[in-house]
């Protein structure tokens, strides 16, 4: 029982970080209908921003965290303006977006390797506030890392804020409308160009938060975008383009992963994730909660 609870807690902790990353994929997909593979690289940049704000600039943790989120929001918007907007203006097929995103990912990842270097960086523990430093908290029979608790709390705060923003504000409703039908929204007076920028900024800011948290828990290194593939699978699993789907998918995927590696074997974990992805696509490509795809003739 204790082991089961421990796995459950681990799963929720990993699931929360997946969710933070998956939301970025889903938000962009809901508006632009393509999988933004550059998102993983933006997450990686977020981790580096946080790390350098903390070590090079010696800023306090809260400020470093905030600046990292701002930095990645800016990067995401710049990517949109430079790479996706020309494609959008030309009404290019979605595949050009994917390839461009992949090119962007190759460019950023290797740019970081070339300038900063491939060696992993570790967040200096001494510069972190108490609540996110190493050590564990005992909850009954379960031991939880402080990092995990902090990760979970920060993620929940971000996601609740996001859901509130999208469901209860005017701008949030405009985002929903644009996701539903971009042309009609533009006709109704919504500035869709601004909405797209906003969506990239929100996704980017969340990527920054996710990057810093992930970097604190593990390490900061240029190939981090490979790990974010998992959160993409989670987004597909839950249903691309659906926020609740991204959350549910992340949680389920993380739980399945931790239970597989806990009870079966660690090697099987990744095979499982990809087989789940393929199985989901075969059975129900729109995911658990996504809108079903219809063929527009």
């Amino acid at each position: 029982m204790a082991q089961f609870l421990q796995q459950l807690v681990n799963g929720i902790s990993i699931g929360s970080i997946y969710a933070l990353m998956a939301v970025g994929y889903s938000l962009v997909y809901s508006i632009m209908n393509f999988s933004n593979f550059a998102h993983g690289s933006v997450i990686m940049l977020g981790a580096y921003f946080g790390y350098f704000c903390l070590t090079l600039l010696g800023l306090p943790f809260g400020l470093a965290f905030f600046l990292a989120a701002c930095g990645t929001a800016l990067v995401a918007v710049v990517i949109e303006r430079l790479a996706y907007k020309p494609l959008r203006d030309r009404k290019a097929p979605f595949l050009y977006f994917i390839i461009t995103a992949m090119g962007m990912s190759i460019f950023i990842d290797n740019g970081v390797i070339a300038t900063i270097g491939p060696t992993p960086k570790i967040f200096p523990l001494a510069r972190l506030p108490e609540f996110i430093r190493g050590g564990t908290i005992k909850l009954g029979v379960v031991e939880v890392g402080r990092v995990d608790v902090a990760m979970f709390v920060i993620t929940v705060i971000c996601l609740v804020a996001l859901i509130f923003f999208i469901d209860y504000t005017r701008v949030g409703k405009a985002i929903q409308a644009t996701a539903y039908n971009m042309k009609a929204s533009a006709l109704m007076g919504i500035n869709t160009s601004f909405i797209i920028i906003l969506v990239f900024a929100i996704g980017g800011a969340l990527a920054g938060v996710a990057g810093v948290l992930y970097g604190i828990k593990y390490q900061v290194y240029p190939q981090m975008s490979g790990i974010t593939m998992k959160s993409f699978i989670a987004a597909v699993f839950g249903g691309l383009g659906s926020l609740p789907g991204a959350l549910l998918g992340s949680l389920l995927l993380a739980l399945i992963e931790t239970f597989v590696s806990g009870y079966l074997s660690t090697q099987l974990r990744d095979i499982f994730s990809f087989l789940i992805l393929i199985a989901m696509l075969v059975i129900r490509p729109s995911g658990i909660m996504g809108k079903s795809m219809e063929d527009k003739a």
Partner: protein, 297 residues
């Protein structure tokens, strides 16, 4: 001399996989991010036949190609009905699943890799096979099946109405591309003399697709040109080893944004293709002149 030969062999091997992908992507309009997986199957099966079962190389290549083809039939049955993004994502999941499964098969070296394979791939063998595959590709494209594929790419519904079995056309294109990738993988195994699952990761699959797009969708000569350029350019920039992938990513973005039709833009480097290109250019010029005259009036 050895070095130049090495580059020629690498171009030749990649060309075979790219030609197959050109049929699938350029002519049938299906994008795959998982052909590294088919290459891996070809490579490992070929290596098993040569190094473990001590069979002749020709038989081993055949076995590798057939295995890749058989797997592609299963994958096609499962995924070819998927629309848009989802086919890409499914192929990506397939490619990664193959890689991760290979990581865990100790019979072929697992994640550490499989070393000291015999070197059987020569420059002449590669070039001869290239010639064969170019001719085969050319004939497929100009056959009834090839025209069906193009019809499926252009307008699926209309093609179906005209009596074309679109699913079958797509399936044929997928199997052909998988067989080509299998042959390329088999040659790769016996040229590199070692195999490691990471050689066939998602980056490899993306590289192949990028070569097709770089050369221009729907053009065989474009695919050839794209392969030659994209394989040899990074080799020429070996001295800037760290920066070459940065430039590579940048090149992908620039071509997607600036010249989406690729180098050849769907035209062929044959006398009739050049005639058509010249005719199209002069027609455009006349049109522009007519427009100008009209505006002047």
């Amino acid at each position: 001399m050895e070095y130049i030969q090495g580059i020629i062999i690498l171009i030749g091997i990649n060309l075979i996989a790219v030609l197959g992908l050109s049929i699938l992507t350029g002519f049938t309009g299906l994008f795959s991010f998982g052909h590294g997986g088919f290459m891996a199957i070809g490579a490992y099966v070929c290596a098993i036949f040569v190094a473990r079962l001590h069979q002749p190389f020709a038989l081993a290549i055949l076995a590798g190609a057939l295995s890749a083809g058989l797997v592609s039939v299963v994958i096609g049955r499962l995924t070819l009905k998927l629309k848009g993004d989802y086919f890409c994502i499914a192929t990506m999941g397939f490619g990664e699943a193959v890689r991760i499964i290979l990581n865990n098969v100790n019979y072929v070296g697992g994640a550490r890799g499989w070393e000291s394979l015999p070197k059987l791939t020569t420059v002449w063998l590669t070039l001869a096979l290239d010639l064969v595959f170019v001719v085969v590709t050319w004939n497929i494209i100009n056959s009834r099946q090839g025209r069906n594929m193009v019809a499926a790419r252009e307008e699926e519904l209309a093609a179906q109405m005209a009596g074309i079995d679109v699913f079958k056309s797509k399936m044929i294109a997928l199997v052909i591309s998988a067989v080509f990738a299998g042959v390329a993988g088999a040659l790769m195994a016996q040229y590199m003399q070692f195999l490691r699952p990471t050689m066939f990761n998602m980056t490899k699959s993306t590289d192949l697709t990028i070569m097709v797009i770089f050369g221009g969708l729907g053009s065989i000569s474009g695919s050839i040109l794209g392969t030659i350029l994209l394989v040899s350019l990074p080799e020429l920039f070996r001295d800037f080893a760290q920066w070459r992938l940065v430039f590579y990513g940048l090149a992908v973005i620039v071509i997607m944004v600036g010249r989406p039709q690729g180098l050849m833009g769907g035209l062929e480097l044959t006398p009739s293709g050049i005639r058509r290109a010249v005719a199209a250019r002069s027609a455009r010029r006349e049109l522009a002149a007519a427009d100008k005259a009209e505006a002047a009036e």
